[in-house]
């Protein structure tokens, strides 16, 4: 085994084509062990498809996924280290999933993961006050989210992916989830990839953010670094233009004589001084809106 491939999950030129649509396109990325990644993108950006290929739940049209240098496809050893706890959708498929009891669903999931920790699953079931005797189609969206969280946590997989884990959870449960995640992370150093639309409240949890747009990787960067090079500049239009000339500019808004733009500094670039403009820092949601909003 090469040193460079230890404890990594790597995808190269990963592509998924459906009949008339490319869901994921030439995706190149390395996930390191011991980080919490946030995966963000608009609906239909390809997040779920990407995660399902990274966990071998869905075959790629082209490209490869490697765990520590081994192709993960039909590779039980590699897959025992990867867990993708999917969002449970009852309505969309007639597979009879809805008739399954929660307990059975969790039990089935447990069989896939050799490092499954039943004590942890039981503890979370109790904490969440989840009635596991109920059928999935009798559970609320929040309770289904809890089940996906239980499966992800108890899998004890080195690389664990969660797709919209907090969708449907109330604010108290969301807060609890982030703390649970951080506790598990600090104790074990597992890698987590978390997709979410509730960007702002999760952004402090992500060490790195992976942004996807139209099936492609837009950026993958340390969250703090990204925020520290992103600014909203506004003022008299000519002044803003003079200041931002030659910079990476997004999301321009002009109202009368005023103009606002979002700039992303390049490496080594500094904000020019001496201009009569207002400079505001941005949060992750605003950076996302600047890069993936309707104006772009």
């Amino acid at each position: 085994m090469k040193m460079s491939t230890i404890d990594t999950l790597v995808c190269r030129e990963l592509t998924k084509k459906y009949k008339d649509k490319v869901a994921v396109k030439n995706f190149n990325m390395t996930l390191e062990k011991g980080k919490i990644y946030g995966l963000i993108g608009r609906n239909g950006a390809g997040k779920t498809t990407l995660l399902s290929m990274l966990s071998s739940q869905n075959p790629a049209t082209a490209g490869v996924v490697e765990w520590n240098g081994e192709n993960i496809w039909e590779n039980p050893n590699a897959l025992s280290h990867i867990c993708f706890s999917r969002e449970i959708n009852i309505g969309t498929n007639g597979s009879g999933l809805g008739e399954m009891k929660a307990k059975q669903y969790i039990k089935t999931a447990a069989m896939y993961y050799p490092n499954w920790n039943q004590a942890m699953a039981d503890e979370l079931i109790e904490k969440f006050e989840l009635d596991v005797k109920k059928k999935l189609n009798k559970l609320s969206k929040g309770m289904l989210s809890m089940i996906t969280i239980i499966v992800a946590m108890a899998s004890k997989a080195d690389f664990t992916f969660l797709d919209e884990p907090v969708a449907g959870l109330d604010v108290v449960m969301r807060e609890y989830f982030y703390r649970l995640l951080l506790e598990e992370y600090t104790r074990t150093g597992r890698t987590f990839v978390i997709s979410t639309h509730i960007i702002e409240e999760a952004s402090d949890v992500f060490e790195e953010v992976i942004m996807m747009k139209d099936g492609e990787l837009l950026l993958k960067e340390n969250t703090i670094d990204l925020l520290e090079r992103s600014y909203r500049i506004s003022g008299l239009a000519e002044e803003v233009e003079r200041m931002t000339a030659g910079m990476e500019v997004h999301n321009r808004e002009v109202t009368g004589r005023s103009k606002s733009v979002t700039v992303l500094l390049r490496e080594g670039q500094q904000l020019p001084r001496g201009f009569d403009v207002t400079i505001q820092p941005l949060n992750l949601q605003n950076v996302f809106l600047a890069l993936c909003g309707m104006g772009e």
Binding site: T186, D204, E207, I224
Partner: protein
């Protein structure tokens, strides 16, 4: 440390600032153990790497120091150290902005000084 994290400043700067404030208020004493990265991560629901970045700033400034195998401790003289730095930053952070704003709304120096004096009178 009961403040709420805001979007104004980077989270790690806020973490460093809150630990400093705790030292100034006597919540954390010199030669006492400071909260660990993991404790801060859990308390504020932030990534431990972010918390570590905040702690590292304080180590660089000599406010905290590392005892191997035990954790981070508040340095002797930390309180004085923080006060000195905050005093020297007072001009940059507050006075300069105050003067800038005063100028842009046409208040002259005497008027500003007068306002400051008057504020002092009201409080006494």
């Amino acid at each position: 440390m009961n403040e709420i994290l805001t979007q104004e400043k980077s989270i790690y700067l806020q973490i460093a600032g809150m630990i400093e404030t705790d030292i100034l208020r006597g919540i954390l004493l010199e030669e006492e153990r400071a909260p660990s990265t993991n404790e801060l991560a859990k308390q504020y629901a932030i990534n431990p790497a972010t918390a570590a970045k905040g702690i590292n700033i304080l180590v660089e400034e000599g406010v905290l120091y590392k005892k191997r195998g035990i954790g981070m401790f508040v340095a002797e003289g930390a309180k004085e150290n923080i006060l000195e730095r905050r005093r020297s930053a007072f001009y940059e952070n507050y006075v300069k902005k105050l003067i800038q704003e005063a100028r842009s709304i046409g208040l002259n120096r005497e008027e500003v000084i007068d306002l400051i004096r008057r504020n002092g009178d009201e409080r006494s």
